[in-house]
Symmetry: C2
Subunit: 211 residues, 2 copies
DNA sequence: GTCTATAAGCGGATAGAC
DNA sequence: GTCTATCCGCTTATAGAC
């Protein structure tokens, strides 16, 4: 692994443990076993390291999402399975980059360049949720919605996905498999009133199989 | 206004504008027109100022909530009106103390004492939402729910209320009357599938009257 | 690419006079 | 209650040798 990559990985670990605010470039260099000067050879400043983490996060997230959803067949059962798998993937993903989500608003306030980049990714991800729901309506998995209702529904789902980890943390709750699963349960609770009868059956079938 | 109160108000303004991370105690003292030493006479450190803001926020929030909900009559129309008024109140409230919500996870990570205090308030507020929904079920305004479903539904609503402002900010959207109103629309969208027929009629009546 | 050394500045916090 | 003066520690960032 190159020095540059080691800096990014080390920074991610320290940021997750202690928060990016209290971890200085000196800390990162020391934990890497390199000198501060060397760190500044590879990165202009701390913001640039954070942006590098963000780029990695974006790339990895897209890959994992596509691996689950790119080629799923159009059956309701497959849709339900893909949806549940995606929920789990997103939760694990958020946990891996937890400092970023935890400090998101502060980081964006601090670095306008990062804010612009994130806003674009944010919109495109929300669009992906929108497309996924619209496709599911077409497949008879979700009950039809007016355009405006669909937009609000997507925002609701996307907000839960984005902030569940923060919700746990501000409530003083530990992040573990049980609390992450509860986040998925909240998502399902938001989704349930919109499911069609076949989807409910498919969901029940998947759940039965899991036991 | 006492010096202590002026420090708290000035700090709130500066934190909202620039973020608590970049505003130092020196900045606050200068903006107050007092010396750094004097500030430290009134507060042991910056965390104590932030906790003072939090205590004000908690007190004001409870007062405003009770003013709307304490003595509402048990009719469905009154329940719908109180609910809508509460949504608007909460949005304005979050905006007034926006730095606190924006930086919440970071602030709590930084100050275990604040974290403990906030967790308690958080639980009690969530319980208030729970009680309000349970009462509305009793009044025939919301369709009956199993206990587990009710808990998930409350978490869903509470999460939207807590993080709508953050959601807007991370998307690079301006916070204004229109985007705050959209937050209320998302809340209504989450609520709508659970409303009973009389509640839908009452809601439609209120909306018609508003025009 | 990597190191050492160091400049320059800021933040938190306190002592002691008034 | 309020001020002035000041200390300490730390961070960011750069210069220049190897």
């Amino acid at each position: 692994m190159s020095t540059r990559e080691r800096i990014v990985e080390t920074a991610l670990t320290l940021f997750n443990q202690q928060g990016s605010g209290v971890v200085s470039t000196n800390h990162i260099a020391a934990a890497c076993g390199i000198s501060p000067g060397n760190l500044y050879y590879h990165f202009r400043n701390k913001e640039e390291i954070i942006r590098a983490i963000f780029h990695q996060l974006t790339r990895v997230g897209a890959e994992e999402y596509l691996a689950i959803n790119a080629a799923r067949p159009p059956e309701t059962a497959a849709a339900v399975t893909a949806m549940l798998d995606t929920f789990v993937m997103v939760q694990r993903f958020n946990w891996r980059y937890r400092f970023f989500k935890r400090e998101l608003t502060v980081l964006l306030h601090h670095d306008p360049l990062l804010a612009a980049e994130f806003a674009e990714v944010h919109r495109s991800h929300r669009q992906m949720v929108h497309d996924a729901i619209a496709r599911s309506v077409g497949e008879g998995f979700i009950a039809p919605l007016a355009d405006e209702e669909l937009t609000l529904f997507v925002e609701e789902l996307w907000l839960i996905i984005l902030f569940w980890l923060n919700y746990l943390e501000v409530g003083g709750e530990e992040v573990n498999d049980a609390t992450l699963a509860r986040g998925n349960a909240v998502l399902m609770s938001a989704l349930r009133p919109h499911l069609t009868a076949p989807a409910r059956e498919a969901l029940a079938a998947v759940k039965t199989k899991e036991r």
